[in-house]
């Protein structure tokens, strides 16, 4: 695995045009197209996320938001186009899910997916950044720094009171937070967060916005969300997708006043 990674790295470094194009970007998508049985889920999608940025992605159903996440995390291979990570050092379209996760891209799914049979604590333990080899897992022993780290994350996601409950018994909102907590424990460079406030109450939504802002202080975040109040609360640059490509980009006010965006959202 390491071999293939260094290979692709050297391959990228020799190609100077690409590294020049993407010098500063953490995530670089250029002309990505994906089609499923003739349906174009992504159509020449291009955008760039700078390190330390928080970006909100909006768009009507079927705009290609989740497919875009799938392409970045290695679940779906693009038919054409480039996906580069870390200033063009890694070509994500050549790596699989595990390799991409180990590079430092964490993903929270649309439907909260936590390990239902494990306790909240164990969920975080599994996500915690450390050696993921079979041997390491067999010989693993708990250590103080690790427990401290889990405590910290539990504080951040406000789930300390339920740490020994099984995750399956948590409320929907708590599961969403637990999954964000798992992302944090992974210590990724880039967090992809798919609909974090779906099914949350207004208070929970605002708390989640706070939480994401806190996280953004140290990490790059890409949030996909439908909830406009939430996106407004985040107050970050917004990219609006439509039919698999970028329709508009800018502040939430600019984007929501864009005639094409209004048309797409309200129907023509």
């Amino acid at each position: 695995m390491t071999d293939s990674m260094t290979e692709s790295k050297t391959a990228m470094q020799t190609d100077t045009t690409i590294s020049r194009q993407t010098t500063s970007a953490l995530l670089y998508l250029d002309g990505i197209s994906v089609s499923f049985d003739g349906f174009k889920a992504l159509n020449e999608l291009s955008f760039v996320v700078e390190p330390g940025e928080m970006r909100a992605i909006i768009g009507p159903n079927g705009a290609g938001k989740t497919t875009m996440m799938d392409v970045i995390t290695g679940k779906t291979r693009p038919d054409s186009g480039d996906v580069f990570f870390q200033e063009g050092a890694y070509d994500l379209s050549k790596l699989d899910e595990t390799e991409i996760a180990l590079l430092g891209i964490g993903r929270k799914f649309q439907k909260p997916t936590v390990f239902d049979m494990h306790t909240v604590e164990d969920n975080l333990l599994l996500a915690l950044k450390n050696d993921r080899d079979v041997g390491a897992a067999l010989l693993w022993r708990s250590s103080l720094p690790q427990e401290k780290r889990i405590d910290d994350v539990l504080d951040t996601i406000r789930l300390k009171g339920v740490r020994s409950r099984v995750a399956g018994s948590l409320s929907h909102g708590q599961k969403q937070w637990l999954e964000i907590g798992m992302l944090l424990a992974q210590e990724p460079k880039l967090l992809l967060v798919d609909e974090p406030v779906a099914g949350m109450t207004d208070t929970e939504t605002m708390q989640t916005a706070e939480l994401l802002k806190e996280i953004n202080a140290t990490k790059t975040v890409v949030v996909v969300e439908h909830d406009m109040a939430f996106v407004r609360e985040l107050g970050v640059k917004v990219t609006c997708l439509h039919e698999g490509s970028v329709l508009a980009e800018g502040s939430i006010d600019q984007v929501s006043q864009n005639e094409r965006v209004v048309e797409v959202y309200l129907g023509r």
């Binding site: 695995m1 595990t98 180990l102 997916t113 390990f115 599994l126 020994s164």
Partner: protein, 380 residues
């Protein structure tokens, strides 16, 4: 977080080992030292029967490790069991020597009968016990590794994996049926005389085999417990419940599955190897797809994902089988087995031990709820 040893030997596991140890001591004592006339005497028939159940228990344990914890439903585990059995059978055949019907010092009887001029190369070395013992673990292990490497890398899961494991055992069944395969064809390997110089028929050897089987089961149980209570075990459960999520966390899912699948096959091989000298025969019917499915039923009845339940299930179902197939109900046994499986799935999906654990967890929860301000960690 407690010490790994404490996590490994919880109350249930300790009780299981104590019970197993008690059986391993009591049965030989009651068979060998108590005179046959006494009410406490245990018959040699029972010793052999119990020894057989222990081997089935070990097979069930190996299935539970992969099915209960990693969600890999193998419907072909009987193949690994039979391969281990054949490796042991080949050693036992070579021990017969000149005592066979044709009194050929090298060739087993069936080869003489088929006019084979010399011993096939793959039979070499089986006159040494250590070599045969190595093959008992190695052959199922290597087959499982190669099979798993292809299956897990191509992400074959769920019912598709179950079907190809069935195909695997069925293919081996057809192969071993053939005379020119060199394993005794239809009749398999039988008429064993000695194991390590001891007569396999006498009571002392039978009792010794029973004790060794109990030891093997205890050892494999401890290995399984160590695995499922480690972080590795937590990853396995994570894979079982949300495989792609585990992948997105950065775990090499196929490596985890491959490790546990191979280990499980080795354990099944050991079970088969201990089974053969106790029942005195190994033939291709051990590869029958139905056998593997039956073993899965034992695990389901006892409670998957509990380890103890798998062994218990093997005992309960096989005792029922022995009991019913020797009476007037014999023709209806398969209906009863089918009914048992349907009944378990519908009425007791957690199995015997699983239902008990669930009931106990509910009770402690209620007790905690009744006492306000109970310590949040009381359940642990």
């Amino acid at each position: 977080m407690s010490h790994p040893l404490i996590r490994m030997l919880d109350r249930g596991a300790t009780l299981f080992l104590v019970l197993l140890g008690a059986f391993a001591i009591a049965i030989p004592v009651l068979n060998l030292l108590v005179p046959p006339g006494s009410a406490l005497h245990v018959s040699t028939y029972f010793v052999a029967l119990f020894g057989k159940y222990i081997c089935y228990g070990l097979l069930a344990l190996s299935i539970d490790l992969i099915w209960g914890y990693a969600g890999i439903l193998s419907l072909g585990h009987g193949a690994f069991f039979a391969l281990g059995g054949y490796a042991m059978g080949m050693y036992l055949m070579r021990q017969i020597g000149t005592r066979g019907v044709y009194a050929n010092p090298i060739l087993p009887d069936f080869m003489v009968f088929l006019n084979w001029p010399e011993l096939p190369v793959y039979w070499y070395g089986f006159d040494y016990f250590a070599y045969a013992a190595l093959m008992v673990v190695l052959v199922p292990g290597v087959l499982a590794f190669v099979f798993g490497w292809f299956a897990f890398r191509s992400r074959v899961t769920g019912v598709y994996l179950s079907i190809i494991t069935q195909a695997l055992t069925f293919a081996l069944l057809l192969g071993f049926f053939r005379n020119n395969f060199g394993f005794g064809g239809n009749n398999g390997l039988t008429d064993f005389k000695e194991i390590l110089g001891f007569n396999v028929q006498v009571e002392t050897t039978r009792n010794a085999l029973l004790v060794i089987s109990c030891l093997a089961l205890a050892l494999c149980f401890l290995i399984c417990r160590a695995i499922v209570t480690s972080k590795f075990g937590k990853v396995l459960v994570a894979i079982r419940d949300a495989e792609s999520r585990t992948r997105f966390l950065g775990y090499r899912v196929e490596a985890y599955k491959l490790f546990v699948f191979t280990l499980s096959a080795c354990m099944a091989g050991i079970a088969g190897a201990l089974y053969v000298p106790q029942v005195g025969i190994i033939n291709p019917s051990e590869f029958a797809p139905g056998n593997s499915i039956e073993a899965v039923i034992w695990v389901a009845v006892g409670g998957r994902g509990t380890l103890i339940g798998a062994v218990l299930g093997a005992f309960v179902v096989n005792y029922a089988k022995t009991y019913f197939t020797s009476g007037i109900l014999a023709p209806y046994w398969l209906f009863m087995l089918g009914g048992l499986f349907i009944g378990t799935t519908l009425l007791m999906p957690r199995g015997i031990i699983g239902t008990y654990y669930h009931w106990r967890a509910n009770r402690t929860e209620k007790k905690d709820a009744a006492v306000p301000n109970a310590a949040p960690h009381a359940a642990e």
